[in-house]
């Protein structure tokens, strides 16, 4: 419950700078993109008639539909891998590392790489994954393989490997927070009520961290859906997801199609978030 009973007019003025910025930089451009996606005719001008033709032509192309499916599949794959790895990492950090200093040190080691930009981290994977890259050299040096494995770079496998490294923390972070907020007495109470550790996890710990899991899944989902840089650099322009399609249309000066792809991408992301919020009410987080 909020303790602020009365909001003065001055309080609303405080929101004006941020509100103006959001309006000018996010809301208006988004509406413009939606508007452009409905432009008919041949001329790129504000006087174009509004039609559904662009969407009709987009959906008539099976390759584009397949691409939407692949984008969702890629997001689902990453949600599964990052969700599992992230939960394990979070559980280890919160429940298994007893020493507070060690926990801080490990947590820092875990998040420091994320201080650099996503693009740089994606590109940094290239010398690792290449046929002459670090991973292949290591594999050959240990004798596990005789010839370099080519599927790492310029393949969806490589893209997935890079994305797992990029987005696992997004899945782990909210779980760390939720796990840390469970009072130890709850597990102990369950144990004295004859629940063995696996049951304690299944019935007490996991349900209580579920909001963190869902938030992590939303973050991974949104990032994978919007990720064009990793796909472009690691995939070597041989692969494309919905985000890359926007860029391709844009670079080909097909601005109306770029707008259509962008609107669909936004629509997919919005649908995913709405679905997640139906599972967990984020607003109730921390209210416990």
């Amino acid at each position: 419950m909020s303790t602020i009973r009365h909001r003065s007019a001055a309080a609303f003025w405080l929101a004006v700078p941020a509100g103006t910025w959001m309006l000018a930089a996010v809301v208006v451009p988004t509406l413009l993109i939606v508007w452009v996606s409905f432009w008919g005719g041949r001329a790129f001008s504000a006087s174009s008639p509004l039609t559904f033709d662009n969407y009709a032509r987009f959906f008539a192309n099976a390759a584009y539909l397949r691409l939407i499916g692949q984008t969702f599949l890629q997001a689902a794959t990453l949600m599964l891998i990052c969700g599992t790895l992230g939960y394990c990492i979070a559980y280890f950090l919160v429940c298994k590392v007893r020493d507070a200093r060690w926990r801080t040190a490990l947590f820092l080691a875990f998040i420091i790489p994320f201080w650099t930009s996503t693009l740089i981290r994606a590109i940094a994977w290239v010398p690792f994954l290449g046929t002459n890259g670090v991973i292949n050299q290591a594999l050959m040096a240990t004798g596990l393989t005789e010839r370099p494995i080519e599927v790492f770079l310029y393949s969806m496998t490589g893209v997935t490997m890079a994305q797992v490294s990029l987005y696992t923390m997004l899945a782990a972070g909210p779980v760390v927070y939720m796990l840390a907020s469970i009072p130890p007495a709850l597990r102990e109470a369950a144990m004295t009520l004859k629940a063995a550790p696996v049951t304690v996890f299944r019935r007490i710990v996991f349900p209580l961290t579920l909001p963190g899991v869902v938030i992590g899944q939303v973050l991974v989902f949104l990032n994978v859906m919007a990720d064009f840089a990793t796909v472009a650099t690691i995939g070597g322009n041989k692969f494309a997801l919905l985000g890359n399609l926007v860029l391709n249309f844009y670079e080909g000066s097909q601005l109306r199609f770029a707008a259509v792809a962008a609107v669909l991408l936004m629509g997919c992301m919005l649908a995913g978030v709405v679905l997640a919020l139906r599972v967990v009410d984020i607003r109730r987080l921390g209210a416990r």
């Binding site: 009072p183 109470a189 004295t192």
Partner: protein, 361 residues
């Protein structure tokens, strides 16, 4: 005495339990026997090891040394879920995501009872604890007293041999505590389940416990029925910790006819000897209960001059806090219905019979 049949009578036995956290000794050689259906209170200041002892019994802590037997069976090393106990936690530790009914049925679910039986038992227990109307609520929607009942119902439904209670009413409003204490005592007597109740509140311990264990610095200072602890505190710590005792310290003189003269800064006092007499010249302490003291002119053998500093009126009695010539704080309790005799600032003399003083070990 043959040990076999004795043990069968015991719900719990601790033999020399020792628990260390790094260099800190939390429990130092605690031995304790709890008879069937006994109400035992572990009493002591915070950090004295009473909660750690309780957690060792629950299996939540592993003792470094010593044995724990529940119902005569060795359980040292067994995890909590394999012990015939239930526990009530200080802040109740209710599961925030479960309804009251689900919560109370949890223990039976873990025991793999059939669903129909769980439903029936939960309904019975909720009715018995007068919380049936709360069945569908979540813990966040309950008051402190309601949470306490839910936690108790959740622990009692499995009918454990021993119920462990860690400051179970400490989180309740003061006004509610007395009623809850009476209810819990009645419940314990009705069910015959042994209660082990950890508290730092001596009123709780003495009014509830059949057997009170006073702990300090990881060790048991004294254990026994409340009357014993109140009338015969064995150490200066116990005497000082239990309200209403006057503790005096001095040098032992030469014992004569079972009475030890003790030389203090406030004069010489006579204390009956229990067991061997302390060596003359050694430091000793003894105590006298505040209600055993008489005020004013009299011919009692032990007398001390003091000045009244505070008078507290409790209804049943009036407590006078006084300061002796050497600065020792003294207490004198007077029956509350009598007219007041002292005010702050009054100079007087206190006295007591020799047999009313207790020599400490």
């Amino acid at each position: 005495m043959p040990e076999g049949p004795m043990i069968a009578q015991l719900d719990l036995e601790l033999r020399g339990v020792r628990k260390r956290y790094g260099s800190f000794l939390a429990v130092d050689g605690v031995s304790l026997k709890v008879e069937k259906g006994q109400f035992v209170c572990l009493l002591g200041p915070s950090g004295c090891g009473k909660t750690t002892t309780l957690r060792c019994v629950a299996g939540l802590e592993e003792p470094d040394e010593g044995d724990i037997l529940i119902g005569g069976r060795q359980v040292t090393g067994d995890p909590p879920w394999k012990r015939d106990i239930a526990m009530m936690f200080q802040d109740f530790a209710l599961f925030p995501h479960m309804s009251v009914a689900k919560q109370v049925g949890f223990g039976l679910e873990m025991l793999k009872k059939p669903r129909a039986e769980i439903g029936k038992r939960v309904a019975e227990v909720l009715a018995a604890f007068e919380i049936a109307h709360l069945a569908e609520r979540r813990p966040a929607q309950l008051s402190g007293g309601q949470k306490q009942r839910v936690a108790l119902a959740r622990a009692m439904i499995t009918e454990p041999r021993i119920l462990l209670l860690d400051e179970p009413i400490g989180a309740l409003d003061y006004a509610l505590r007395e009623a809850v204490m009476l209810e819990l005592k009645a419940l314990q007597q009705r069910t015959g389940i042994s209660f082990i109740w950890v508290t730092h509140d001596q009123n709780e311990a003495f009014s509830l416990g059949d057997h009170v264990v006073v702990m300090n610095h990881a060790r048991i200072e004294q254990q026994g029925p409340p009357e014993d602890l109140l009338s015969r505190p064995r150490t200066a710590f116990v005497a000082g910790f239990i309200q209403g005792n006057n503790v005096l310290r001095g040098k032992a003189g030469a014992a004569e006819a079972g009475v030890l003269p003790v030389e203090t800064a406030d004069g010489r006092f006579h204390v009956p000897i229990i067991g061997a007499a302390p060596a003359p010249g050694s430091e000793v302490s003894f105590s006298v209960r505040a209600e055993r003291i008489e005020e004013g002119e009299n011919d009692l053998p032990n007398r001390i001059a003091a000045r009244c500093t505070t008078v507290e009126y409790f209804g049943a009695f009036r407590r006078h806090v006084l300061s002796s010539g050497s600065g020792v704080t003294l207490k004198w309790d007077q029956f509350g219905a009598l007219p007041p005799r002292l005010r702050a600032g009054t100079e007087t003399t206190l006295g007591w019979r020799t047999e009313d003083s207790v020599l400490h070990a």
